[in-house]
Symmetry: C2
DNA sequence: CGAGGGATTGAATTCATTCAATTCTTGTGG
DNA sequence: CCACAAGAATTGAATGAATTCAATCCCTCG
């Protein structure tokens, strides 16, 4: 298994994590827990040496030992389709939890790989379950996190099903922008940790299409992308393009079917 | 609120549900619970008068009071996009749980409407949470159900992102076939409870495209669809078309980005 | 039995892809 | 430190799959 760089050989640097002191606060799993509850959670979490770009957190088929909260950096998850092609399922930023899709069968169903130097809190799942029985609020948080992931995937599905290439890319960039803003990074200037072809794959587009749209958006002074660095100039316009209107249309609810 | 047919006016027919006696068995939430645990679950579940075609289980924006296990029949869930268009998020059959995407914000984010006469087990969510603390196995089941839903949505996303119209429809029909089979219905002859335009919308296609593909599949003797009744003649071929090969290609794992 | 929605079929159009060529970056070894 | 190789990104032209528009057909239900 030498092809997996450093896989499974990371040494634990620091088993005494402190969620209480983590700047992620409300963005991560322990949101809403009190200090005592957090310290119980701390005890089961371990932080390992940061992953480097290309390192795997886990691989499709691995037994699900843990779920992983991204502490800093970013990862992508992907799986291989039956036709041998890769499908990127998502990009995760700090505070987001990787591995949740593995719970169903106690076995990871995607590969998770670091896009940059990434620090991760590993949470052994069995222990997390036990603790969730002990701390109802933690169970509730888990339900919320899982439900949020479902909503997120539903949003993605409707993006892929109904939107034009331009709308998809606009929505993708705005989603990133929003997520960076929540993390106290700049909403208008940020770095893409993923390649154009990663973005294209995720959005169900060809690389060339993504490239062309970026060029068009740049020409229209809506944003600029220099290599990996995105600068958004006209966010309002970008929202319009994404088909996301701040003020939703006042539509009469129709009765179904 | 007269536009919502019978909404919220259903009378409880039978509060003494028995999961133990339900034929759904392993397909539903109580899978793996013992009799004692099931009877505890029974106590919080209520079964109402069946919903008729077009009746809503809940609506986008409603407070999440309960999640709903389909007992018989089928429903669809959908939401309205910012552009005023409808997006169908899924079709649920017996044993499947509706409302999970509402947990994140304690508020339903889709409309759920019966596609035919449908009987439903209503599970008050707060009580379900309490019981899940008391019965760790039930908590585990909830985690599994939620995780499964995430996987399902991921599969849908990659269907919408990368597959041709033909592959999408083939995969959709096979997925239905499989789900009917699990429920001890015929895998090769079954009834579509949803319209062509529902299918098209769900799959990110135009109705005309769905229609044309059905015609083509019929011409090729792979299946026939008479109005709503599907008969699959050549399932192997259908799997091939869907890009789902029984024996996955023996591909060397590549190291990521 | 007739009306109206659902489904099908045909023709023209379009958005995104594919193929192909070039430019730009980045990392590595001499 | 520079040169060069290899991957990443961009640009252009031709192609194609699915959509849109339009017309017709077929059920179902009142």
């Amino acid at each position: 298994m030498t092809f997996i760089k450093e896989y499974n050989f990371k040494k634990t640097l620091n088993t005494s994590i402190s969620c209480d002191k983590c700047r992620l606060g409300r963005l991560c799993l322990p949101d809403g827990l009190n200090k005592n509850q957090m310290s119980k959670l701390d005890k089961i979490i371990s932080r390992k040496k940061p992953y480097q770009r290309g390192d795997y957190l886990f691989r499709n088929g691995d037994i699900l030992h843990s779920v992983y909260a991204i502490h800093s950096g970013s990862i992508k998850t992907y799986s291989m389709q039956n036709d041998g092609k890769i499908q990127i399922n998502g990009f995760l930023l700090s505070g987001e939890i990787a591995g949740l899709e593995g719970i169903a069968n106690n076995c990871h169903s995607v590969d998770a790989v670091a896009l940059e130097t990434t620090s991760v809190c590993e949470i052994p799942f069995k222990q997390l379950e036990s603790l969730s029985v002990e701390i109802p609020k933690l169970q509730h948080q888990m339900f919320k996190v899982l439900s949020n992931e479902i909503k997120h995937e539903q949003t993605l599905a409707s993006l892929l099903g109904r939107k034009t290439a331009e709308q998809r890319l606009a929505a993708f960039l705005l989603s990133l922008s929003l997520r960076f803003e929540c993390r106290n990074f700049s909403a208008n200037t940020f770095n893409l940790s993923m390649s154009r072809s990663d973005i294209a794959n995720y959005l169900g587009l060809a690389v060339e299409t993504v490239s062309r749209i970026i060029t068009r958006l740049s020409d229209n002074k809506i944003l600029s992308v220099k290599r990996k660095m995105v600068s958004i100039y006209d966010k309002k316009k970008l929202y319009q393009m994404a088909g996301i209107i701040s003020q939703p249309p006042n539509v009469i609810r129709k009765t179904g079917t």
